[in-house]
Amino acid sequence: MSHAYAGDDYGSYGYPGDRVSPRSRDRRPSARTTPRLTLDWQRTDRAATLREHSARFGPLPRHAGGRPDLLDQVEAARLTGRGGAGFPTATKMRAVAARRRPAVVVANGMESEPASEKDQALLARAPHLVLDGISLAAGAVGAAEAHICLPRTRSWLTDSVLAAVAERQRAGIDQISIAVHELPHHYVSSEETSLVHWLNGGEAKPTTTPPRPFERGVGKRPTLVDNVETLAHVALIARYGAEWFREVGTREATGTMLTTVTGGVSRPGVYEVEAGTAVGDVLELAGLQAGAEAVLIGGYFGTWHDIAAVEGRPFTAAGLHPVGASPGAGVLFALPAEACGLAEAARIMRYLASQGAQQCGPCMFGLPAVADDLGQLAAGRPEGDPLSRMQRRFGVITGRGACRHPDGAVRMAASAIQTFQADAHAHAQRRACFSAQRGRHHGRQQTAMLPVPRPFAEGDWR
Amino acid sequence: MPGGQLWPAAGHVLAASSYGPSPLWYTARATGVVALILLTITVALGVAGTARLSSQLLPGVVRSGLHRNVSLLAVAFVVVHVLSSVLDPYAGIKLISAIVPFSSAYRPFWLSLGAIAFDMLLALVLTSLLRSRIPYRAWSVVHWLGYACWPIALWHGLGTGTDSRLSWVLILFGACALVVAGAVGTRLNLAASSLNRTAGLAGTAAFVVATIVFVAVGPLQPGWARRAGTPASMLGSAHPASGTPGRTGAAR
């Protein structure tokens, strides 16, 4: 498997200015796990206690220099958000800090992406890293209030986090108290405006922006909403510095990242790899199985690709941009040899269609319509011409909702049709797809591969 | 007599009122009935709007334009209805009673229903005219009053009106009630929530039944005029509320 980097420009994604160490310009991230956040996770089967955490990483740093210190470090480290959007963290933090009113910090531990498990793993194994990050970020942006939002469906996680918060309170190490909340767990509930809306007493549904949370969020105050992994990285940057953070990764994508690899791999799970590792290398780490030829990159909001087309590309936003993909929250799902990509895509589509906030017509009606079309194709029972119907609908649905939910769903569906073209045409002519033929038992019922969660209590957004 | 003071010439005509209902009284009754019909049409069109009912003959914009214009026409008729009732000297209804409930001597409760309905109608129309300048929620909350305004207007007509025993009036009012109940029922049938549907249909049915019962034990019974609160000075003994002019200003 070649790891050649096509000499294309990965774009100036991220930070203005280019204060980079000459070493990292030429480094190619190696195909191995790099234990920074995940240090010593295998030691025990449970969350690290405050004592273990302090022994592992050292005590919570106090910045004698005051607020700007941490912001400078995070900026120099070129940390970007790990929740999917990949926004430069320091820029966001500075935007919140610059505003006059006291700020609010919200840690996003919702992880509504069904194919992602990294945030759960992080909170379950190293909650103090996240809580450190919240505490440090609050100090840096001048926040008087901090919250962490978790899904109601993972009560074991809430218990773990509550225990960690209690430990810290007893030890008196934080300047700020961190409130732990359990939110309804719909797909769109983990979007940052959903969190803010819920914390303000509303439903966990996205709201139209402006204003964005950093301008006016919880209690009308400037609010910093960050993914829990991002905050964990902040906790380590505060201890070891920006230079240390940049020692691994590439020029554009620094440090390490957590990724969830599932599907046709022999060792599915959460891996911590250097940012910029090639997609193929990450899949290999998890033990890509023979015959797995397609991969869903970025989760349910992501896109389907032939592995051969993407295996050499760095698993970063800039690296995947030329092929129209994005790592999202670091999610990879390898399609097993015996699975049908269209069937999986149809299942995802049906799930996404049910997960909209039901606020906008084109999404409320368009997504189920596309899910039907895709379902017809996948079952090999097309009514009329579902392919051209879908193409038409894709154009009509995108951009006409209040949030990006329908756009993401449509993009996923379109990529499935593109990548599984041959299957699509076969299904359209009422023939079984190639994967059914490849499977060990010809014509057996396709077993579902991707996890589709049971729908959260319908109508409960509060 | 107030009328005589305002219009000396008309005073002669109005003076005739002491021998029976004056043209003003007939005007009041007639405009009241027409106003109710117009309000019925308004409500039906409004409900059709919420149910998204439209056709080639009645596209959405026409339906919504009609709803608006018919409601304004209804207001015009209600204003004439109010003025003629006030100007007519017979019942001694003051102008203030048109908007303040329980301020009239004549059938205070039933007249107050009219005042309440009129207040609601004014609020509805005013907020609708200013719709683009007020928050949508404010307009919406006030507009819901329409569902209360219409039944109150109907009961005002049945209770205050002296024609409630006339068969053609009852048939007309019944038809209006049928139209509104039908429209509301059709709309409720389309409701997504079955709770809303059952509750709404039950409420509508209850209202229809209550109205029938009311008419049966109220206006259709002898002695209704007295029970409704017509001042004793205006009650005659010979003619219970029949709507026909009596020689001595009989009970109306």
């Binding site: 606020q359 | 959405g60 683009s132």
Partner: protein, 81 residues
């Protein structure tokens, strides 16, 4: 400086009165929701205003834009999971 129509997608419930009044610029998709053209030519401005006031949900707005952006997006929420 051009005038464009914008829709609040959450307020819009697909009544379709706007498309009746301004078929040149507003088309309904298969589910009854409006698809807007890019800008409002001056000769259709009066019709556009009528369409804006006719919307039962007050979801249609006429706004002035400094310059033409690409495909019209409602100010959007970024997916951050």
């Amino acid at each position: 400086m051009t005038m464009t129509l914008q829709i609040d997608p959450i307020a819009c419930t697909g009544h379709g009165l706007c498309a009746d009044l301004l078929p040149e610029l507003i088309e309904l998709d298969e589910w009854g929701y409006p698809i807007l053209a890019d800008s409002v030519p001056p000769d259709l401005l009066a019709h556009a205003r009528r369409a804006v006031s006719a919307c039962p949900a007050l979801a249609l707005r006429l706004v002035r834009v400094q310059h033409q952006l690409g495909p019209r997006h409602q100010a959007s929420a970024r997916p951050g999971r």
